[in-house]
Symmetry: C3
C-alpha cells in the first residue's frame, strides 16, 4: 500500500469564498503515483469546508445567500454563545456543517473518478488568515 | 490490496425520489471479494445524494417536506442565480448539500458493517434522466 | 494492509448531547498499530452523528439551538409522518443529516492528522438508550 500526504495552504482576502481546488488535488494524485485507491481531502480548520459541486458562479452566489439565511453572520454574543469567547465566527462553524468537512474520492487508473460536473471546492467562511487543506492518498 | 469499481445507473421518472440501493451495494461487495476494507458510495452527479438512514416511508416524506422548506424549488432566475444558465434545478444543488454526496462504509468479514437500521439511499433531486452512482471498494 | 475494528458504546442520559470521543479514537489508533492510512468513525444509529468541530461549550449551545430551529422536536404525527410509527424522534433523523453520519480522518505517523482545533464528537439526538459508534482503521 502506498500513502501520500500534502497540505494545501490558502489565504482568502475576504471572509467568505469558494475556491476550485481540483487542479491542486489532481497534482497531488500525480505526485502520489497511486493508480487505484482513495483520496481524502479535508479542511484542517473548523470554519471551512471541502465539498464537491458545480463550478458555476451563479450557484456559488446561491450557496452564499442560502447559507446566510440558514446560519446568519452575527458578531454578537447574545445571538451566538460561541462569540462570548471573543470570536465573531460562530456562523462560520454552522455554515461549515451544512457544506461538510471533507470529501472522499475514488482513484481509478490514476485519475479522480468523477462524474461529468464534479469539481472540488474549498469553502472559506472565516478567511483573512492562512488556512490549510489536507490531501491524503492511499492505494496502489 | 484489492480494488473494485462499479457504476450503478438510475433513471427516476419523477423530479425527486429516494431509492434504497443497499442490495446493489451488497452485490458489488460480493463481486469484489473484499473481506476487510472500505466501500465508498457516491453520487456522480451534483444534484443527487447518497446517504444512510432509515427505510421508513413516513420519514422519507418528512425529508422531502423538510428539504423543500430549507431549499424550496423555484425555477426563477430571480430567486436563484444558477437558474440564469437556463437550468431550473438550483434548489437540487442545495438539497444535495444537506443530504450529502457520499457515504463511506466499513467492510468486516465480507459484509457491510452496519448498525441495526442503516440502509443506503440514492437521493434524487433532479430526475427524469439517467444518472449514476459510483461504488469503489478497497481492501483485502 | 492492516485492518482494525472497534465499537464504542454510549448511553447518554438526556435526549441530546455532544461527547468528545477523540481520546477513544486515539486509543483505537494505538491499538491498531496502523501508521499510515485512514480511520472511519461513524454512528451505527440513524438518529446520531459523528462530526468534527471545536471543543467549545458555547458553540455546542449554538449548535443545539440552531438544529432546533432547522428541525424542531415535535412528537406529533401531524408534524412528522415518521411519528405515525409510534416513534417521537423524526426530528433526530433530520438533525443527524445536518451534522453528518461519519468522518474519515487521515492517519500519519501513527497519529490522527488533525488541524489545530479539530476534535471528534458523538452527536446524540435521541439518547437514553445504549448506542454505538464504529471505528474502522485500514492502512499499514
Amino acid at each position: 500500500m502506498k500513502s501520500y500526504r500534502k497540505e494545501l495552504w490558502f489565504e482568502v482576502p475576504t471572509r467568505r469564498a469558494f475556491l476550485n481546488i481540483t487542479p491542486q488535488v489532481e497534482s497531488c494524485l500525480k505526485e502520489s503515483g497511486v493508480r487505484e485507491g482513495l483520496v481524502l481531502v479535508n479542511a484542517m480548520h473548523i470554519t471551512a469546508s471541502v465539498f464537491i459541486n458545480d463550478n458555476e458562479s451563479g450557484l456559488h452566489e446561491d450557496y452564499q445567500k442560502w447559507l446566510e439565511r440558514l446560519a446568519p453572520f452575527d458578531a454578537s454574543a447574545k445571538t451566538y454563545a460561541h462569540n462570548r469567547t471573543g470570536e465573531d465566527n460562530a456562523d462560520a462553524h454552522l455554515k461549515r456543517q451544512v457544506m461538510g468537512r471533507e470529501v472522499v474520492v475514488a482513484i481509478t487508473k490514476g485519475q479522480l473518478d468523477f462524474g461529468p460536473w464534479e469539481q472540488i471546492f474549498y469553502g472559506e467562511f472565516d478567511g483573512r488568515r492562512p488556512k490549510r487543506v489536507l490531501v491524503k492518498v492511499i492505494g496502489e
